[in-house]
Subunit: 291 residues, 2 copies
C-alpha cells in the first residue's frame, strides 16, 4: 500500500499543474489552489489507487480520475462552507475559502474546481476515449443530482424537521456515499474489471461509505479537536441528525463494528479473484482514524 | 433555418427530461427547472444547430452538446445573480433563482446544472466516445478557468479600478466570447469538419462574439426595458466598463458595423466549402436583436 499512499501527493501536484497551466485569472488560480492545498487526507484517491492495485493495474492510470474526484470533493467543501449553506469559518483548522477570498470568489473557485475536474479527465490522453467518457459519466452521476448534490439538498432540508434513521441513511448514501463509491467504480472502469468483481467492489464501497459516516459522527463527539480540526459536537449544535443522535454513542460504535465485519466478508468472497490486502487496510484505516 | 430554430425547444425539453430522470431531490429539480424554463433565446444552441446545417450534418446530433452549453449558460446566470456576485433580483423580467428558492438552493442548483451538463454529453450514446470526450474537453475549456469563469472573475475585479478598451475586450473574450465560440467548435467536432473550415468558423464565432457583446452594451442604453427585461443603464449604474462607456454610443455602433462586415467577409471566404446562408442570418440576428 506504500505505492497508493505515496500517490496521494501526486494527485495534489497533478491538480495544481492543471490549474496553473490552463487559466486566465490569477485570483481564480490562487483561490482554487488554496483549498486544494488545505485539502484533506486524500481518502478518495487512496481508495481509487488501492482498488487499482487490487485489480493488478498500474496505479498511474488512475491519476486523472483521482484528481477529478478530489477536485469535486474540494469544491463541495468550499460551497458547503458558504454563509448561505453551513456558514463555517474554519475547515481543518484553517480559515475557509470565502473568509480568505470573499464570497463571490469562493463561489467561482468552487465552480472552477467542478468544471475543471471533467477537463482533467478529458485531457488524459493515456486513457482511451471509451474509458474517459465512462469516467465522466460515472463521476458526474456520483457528484450531481443522482448523488452528492441531492444529498446536500436533502441534508439542508432535514435540519428543518424530525428525521428518521432510514432517511439519514438515504441522505448519507447520496451526500458522502456516492463520492466514496465513485473512486472504486472508476478503478473498475480503468482496470476493465469483469462485472462480477465490479459489482462486489461497489457493494464493498457502499458498506465502507456508511462505515466512514458513522465514524465521522462518532468523531464529532469523541474526536480530539486538535486532530480533527473542528469543535466537539459541532454537528449536534447545528441540530444535525447523526448516527450518534439516532443510535446513541454505544449504538453507533456497534453499527460501526457491524459494517466493518460486513466489509471484510465481501473481501473474503473476492479473495480468489483479486488481491484484497490493501483494501483490508483501508477498512481498518476508515474504522480507526482519528481525523 | 426553420429547422435550427424549431430545435431550440427540443433543447429545453431534452434538458428537463435529463434533469427529471436522474435526480433524488425534488427541490434541486424544481430550482434547476425554474431557471432552464426562465431561460433566454437559446442563441448558443441556435448557433450550434445552424453551424451543423452549414456543415451538412444532421442537427439532431447536436442536441446533447447544445443542451450542455445552455445548461452552463443558465448556471452561470444563477450564480452571477447571487448577492455575493451581481446581486440581481430580476432576470429577463422574472425573479432570480435565489429570490424564489433561497441562496443555498440557488448555489446548489447552479452546481447541479454545471455538473449535469457533462453528464448529458456522456450519456449521449448516439455519438462516438471520441466525439463525446472531445466535446467535454472543448466545452469545459470554454466554460472554465481558460474561459468564462476567468472572465467573470476579471469582470468583478475590473469594477474596482479603471479599465482600458483592450482589457474590456479580453474580459469579454473570456466571459461571453468563449461560450459563443464553443457551440461552433462543438458543431465542427460533431461534423468532423476539416481543419481549414474549423479554423475559419472559429474566427467567425470570435467576431460574432464581440459583435454580440457590443450589441448588449448598446441595448443597455437604448433597449426597451419591456423587451430586454432589464432596466436602462443598469451596467452603467454598476460602474461597469462597456463598449459604450469606452467608445460612446455612436462609436459603439460603428464598431458593431465593422464586426458585421468582418463576419460576412469570413463567410464569403467559406462560400465554396460550406452552406453559409444560415450563418449569415445569425449575424443579422445578433446585430439587429432588440433583446
Amino acid at each position: 500500500m506504500e505505492n497508493s499512499i505515496s500517490y496521494i501527493d501526486k494527485v495534489k501536484s497533478h491538480i495544481l499543474v492543471h490549474l496553473k497551466t490552463y487559466q486566465h485569472s490569477e485570483t481564480i488560480y490562487n483561490a482554487s489552489k488554496y483549498s486544494v492545498e488545505a485539502g484533506g487526507k486524500g481518502l478518495r484517491p487512496l481508495l481509487l489507487f488501492t482498488a487499482l492495485e487490487a485489480l493488478n493495474t498500474d496505479i498511474s492510470k488512475g491519476l486523472s480520475a483521482a484528481s477529478a474526484i478530489e477536485m469535486i470533493h474540494t469544491y463541495s467543501l468550499i460551497h458547503d462552507d458558504l454563509p448561505a449553506m453551513d456558514n463555517d469559518d474554519l475547515r481543518r483548522g484553517k480559515p475557509t475559502n470565502h473568509i480568505i477570498f470573499g464570497e463571490g470568489t469562493a463561489i467561482l473557485a468552487g465552480d472552477n474546481l467542478l468544471n475543471e475536474s471533467f477537463n482533467v479527465i478529458a485531457k488524459d490522453k493515456e486513457l482511451s476515449a471509451e474509458i474517459r467518457i465512462k469516467l465522466v459519466e460515472t463521476i458526474a452521476t456520483a457528484s450531481g443530482q443522482a448523488g452528492m448534490i441531492s444529498g446536500q439538498m436533502l441534508d439542508i432540508e432535514a435540519e428543518e424537521r424530525p428525521t428518521s434513521l432510514d432517511e439519514l441513511e438515504t441522505i448519507h448514501a447520496y451526500k458522502t456515499g456516492a463520492l466514496i463509491t465513485a473512486p472504486v467504480t472508476a478503478a473498475c472502469i480503468i482496470a476493465e474489471a469483469v462485472p462480477e468483481v465490479t459489482e462486489s467492489l461497489q457493494n464493498f464501497s457502499e458498506v465502507i461509505g456508511v462505515l466512514f459516516q458513522i465514524k465521522d459522527d462518532i468523531l464529532d463527539i469523541e474526536g480530539n479537536p486538535k486532530i480533527t480540526g473542528k469543535n466537539i459536537g459541532s454537528d449536534a449544535k447545528k441540530g444535525k441528525v447523526t448516527y450518534v443522535s439516532e443510535l446513541g454513542l454505544e449504538g453507533a460504535k456497534t453499527a460501526l463494528q457491524q459494517k466493518e465485519t460486513e466489509a471484510y466478508r465481501i473481501l473474503d468472497s473476492l479473495d480468489e479473484l483479486i488481491e484484497t490486502a490493501g483494501l483490508r487496510k483501508i477498512v481498518q484505516m476508515f474504522a480507526e482514524r482519528d481525523q
